[in-house]
């Protein structure tokens, strides 16, 4: 493998890491700050993708569809918290798991009833569908660069929000000691609703950006949920900075594992055996990484609570 290819693959890993971060950012706050087990976060990704694809289909304008879908995802999180989630905070974790697992089935079925089981058409406008040369002899899709850019902007935005604003101070206070924060006059109920809706919104943005890359179909968010849980565990519950670093690590490890591992195995194994073992081992890499982190630092790399 040449150096440019290796660099390109690391870049690919960065791109999938940025996408994972958008999903994990909200989830780590919901899990870490609110101490709430929320399994239906993948559904927020799906809602974002469907909102963008259908709005783009109706208006014929990709940019309008993508931008108009963002408030929809925020609103869906806000309404969901108001209708259901806030009633579950005082229940134990098993109840939360059951209820939010039910939500996964509910959202998938709603989408299937509303839009049918077939994947929606969602494609890029000509202005985004080309490619540019990021390295000599290495064309790269423009849209994936836009995804990286947008993801990094969101990451900086979340960082600023959490660390430099009053709302962020309240979120951090809540993460450290919720009872104390409430005693000091922070409206915990509203704060939770805001965190939840913001988390849904970031996951929705990931879905909006994923739409043109992958099939927009019912259940599209579930595979991402598991990876983003891995990210949260590695990064440390409730830590946005940890989630970002862990997401990039997971993205790069997963990508390189898929590409490099079969090559390494082939160098000393029979080809048919290597072809079988390579992809199987590659899909285990991130979980191995998670296990190692759990053994060495059980609270994750950057735990939010001291």
């Amino acid at each position: 493998m040449t150096l440019t290819l290796l660099l390109e693959q690391i870049f690919n890993g960065l791109q999938s890491g940025v996408m994972l971060f958008l999903i994990a950012a909200g989830l780590t706050l919901i899990l870490g700050v609110m101490n709430f087990v929320f399994l239906a976060h993948g559904a927020q990704v799906m809602i974002g993708a469907y909102a963008a694809a259908s709005l783009t289909g109706i208006t014929g304008n990709f940019y309008f569809g993508a931008l108009a879908a963002i408030p929809i995802t925020f609103l869906s999180g806000y309404v969901l918290e108001y209708l259901l989630i806030r009633h579950l905070y005082q229940r134990d974790h098993m109840d939360q798991v059951l209820a939010t697992f039910g939500l996964i089935l509910f959202f998938n079925e709603m989408i299937r009833i509303g839009f049918g089981p077939a994947a929606l058409f969602s494609n890029l406008p000509p202005s985004l569908s080309g490619f540019v040369y990021i390295l000599p002899d290495t064309p790269y899709p423009v849209y994936r660069l836009v995804v990286i850019g947008a993801g990094l902007v969101c990451a900086v935005g979340i960082h600023y929000l959490v660390n430099r604003t009053k709302v962020g101070a309240m979120v951090r206070a809540g993460a450290n000691n919720e009872a104390m924060a409430a005693a000091l006059g922070v409206n915990i109920g509203l704060l939770r609703r805001f965190i939840f809706a913001a988390g849904a919104c970031f996951a929705g943005i990931a879905g909006i950006m994923l739409g043109p890359l992958t099939a927009v179909e019912p259940g599209m968010g579930e595979p991402l949920l598991i990876l983003s849980l891995v990210v949260i565990i590695i990064g440390g519950l409730g830590s946005v900075r940890g989630a970002f670093i862990a997401a990039v690590i997971v993205g790069v490890v997963d990508t390189l594992g898929r590409v490099v591992l079969p090559l390494i195995l082939r160098s000393f194994m029979e080809q048919s055996a290597a072809d079988g073992a390579g992809p199987a081992l590659a899909s285990m890499m991130v979980y191995l990484l998670m296990t190692i982190v759990l053994v060495v630092k059980p609270t994750g790399l950057f735990p939010a609570k001291g």
């Binding site: 049918g116 179909e217 019912p218 898929r258 080809q271």
Partner: protein
């Protein structure tokens, strides 16, 4: 919820079953939920259409179809097959999209002396040494379709090719089938994860290998992802894309004209010129809107084969139906099908291209016939 519904359907079915003893019962297994749900939906549509065309009877006998959703999970498929055989006491278990699921239920169904008819999956072990007389395929053996593509690319002088398929039984069968007739240089052979959504890393590696052609097998939603990302990476300028089971009526509504010109081999196409196929395609479009996929055509053929078998055998006896089907001459949307000694069809393999029809809808059109009356490579190893 799903389980409750299923239990309710099945217990309702049992009531009907006891009411009239001479009803033929078909257990139809397919994937109705999850990302592959659209495939199962199309198959279910086609089965319903077939039952409409036969007036609700199979071979002149009142018939009932019990649909079960395998969720693309082998363990679920095993449980459902068990239930179909033991508590519903079906005469035939049919359907099954995925090779790994068919492998999982094959033994328990065939050994219970129930006829098992595949509407799609055709894994090589079941065509060769592991064959069983109670298993009949109404689709193809996995290798047959990619063999056609390998032969076509060999004949048209393609110098080097890069291969990509998901890491499961069918993926391996597809690539070994392809290599049986293609003797040019293979510059890369990559197995991706089943259900993979992002192929960017694989595409980067592919670009570095600079193959003249790329051959992929990525069924269902994976095909949508792959073709989208292939286009966005500008890969067409570098390598020509050849496919099997990747671009079809399931993925085309999501791809539309981005898939124009993609070449594939297939044993069926909506424009195949025979009366049964034309009636099937026209009625399917009228009833459900949009083109049927090959999955739907094979599901329809499965029901028509059962209809033919019961009609000719005079009963739904497993051995009698099997003997009729093994004898071939089955009317299907692919014409009159003859059967190989391992009870897999002997059939033509066509070259299809994605085109726009007169209404501007993306579909596939036959441009050549690669193999005529093509049997699979494993039949010689099959001894019942």
């Amino acid at each position: 919820m799903k389980r409750l519904l299923m239990a309710a359907t099945i217990s309702a079915a049992m009531v009907v079953g006891t009411a009239s003893a001479d009803t033929v019962k078909i257990g139809y297994m397919t994937t109705l939920s999850g990302g592959a749900g659209i495939i199962g939906k199309q198959m279910q549509n086609a089965v319903k259409l077939a039952m409409e065309h036969t007036g609700g009877k199979l071979g002149g006998v009142d018939a009932e179809v019990i649909f079960v959703d395998d969720q693309r999970k082998p363990d679920v498929a095993k449980q459902l097959a068990n239930r179909l055989i033991k508590s519903d006491r079906v005469d035939v278990v049919a359907g099954v999209i995925w090779s790994n699921l068919l492998m999982a239920i094959h033994k328990q169904v065939t050994r219970s002396d129930t006829l098992l008819i595949s509407s799609n999956a055709g894994p090589s072990p079941l065509a060769g040494g592991g064959c069983h007389k109670n298993f009949v395929s109404m689709s193809w053996q996995n290798d047959q379709t990619p063999e056609g593509m390998g032969k076509y690319m060999q004949d048209s002088g393609v110098s080097s090719v890069y291969l990509m398929a998901p890491n499961y039984q069918a993926g391996k069968d597809m690539l070994s089938g392809f290599k049986r007739h293609y003797t040019g240089e293979i510059v890369g052979e990559v197995y991706t994860k089943l259900g993979q959504t992002d192929f960017q890393a694989e595409l980067s590696a592919l670009r570095a290998a600079k193959p003249a052609a790329t051959f992929v097998f990525q069924p269902g939603g994976m095909g949508i992802n792959f073709v989208k990302q292939w286009n966005q990476g500008g890969m067409n300028d570098l390598s020509k894309l050849y496919t099997v089971f990747t671009v079809d009526a399931v993925s085309l509504p999501a791809l539309k004209d981005t898939a124009l010109g993609v070449i594939a081999t297939q044993t069926w196409s909506p424009d195949l010129d025979n009366p049964m196929n034309q009636k099937f395609v026209a009625d399917y479009k009228a009833k459900y809107g949009g083109y049927p996929s090959f999955y739907a055509a094979q599901a329809y053929d499965t029901m028509m084969a059962i209809d033919y078998a019961i009609g000719k055998a005079g009963s739904a006896d497993t051995e009698a139906m099997r003997a009729v089907l093994a004898g071939g001459g089955i009317p299907t949307t692919r014409g009159i099908l003859q059967m190989n000694s391992n009870q897999f069809p002997i059939q033509n393999v066509y070259l299809r291209e994605v085109v726009l029809d007169s209404d501007g809808v993306a579909t596939t059109k036959i441009i050549d016939t690669v193999f005529e009356n093509h049997g699979d490579a494993y039949a010689k190893d099959c001894k019942f």
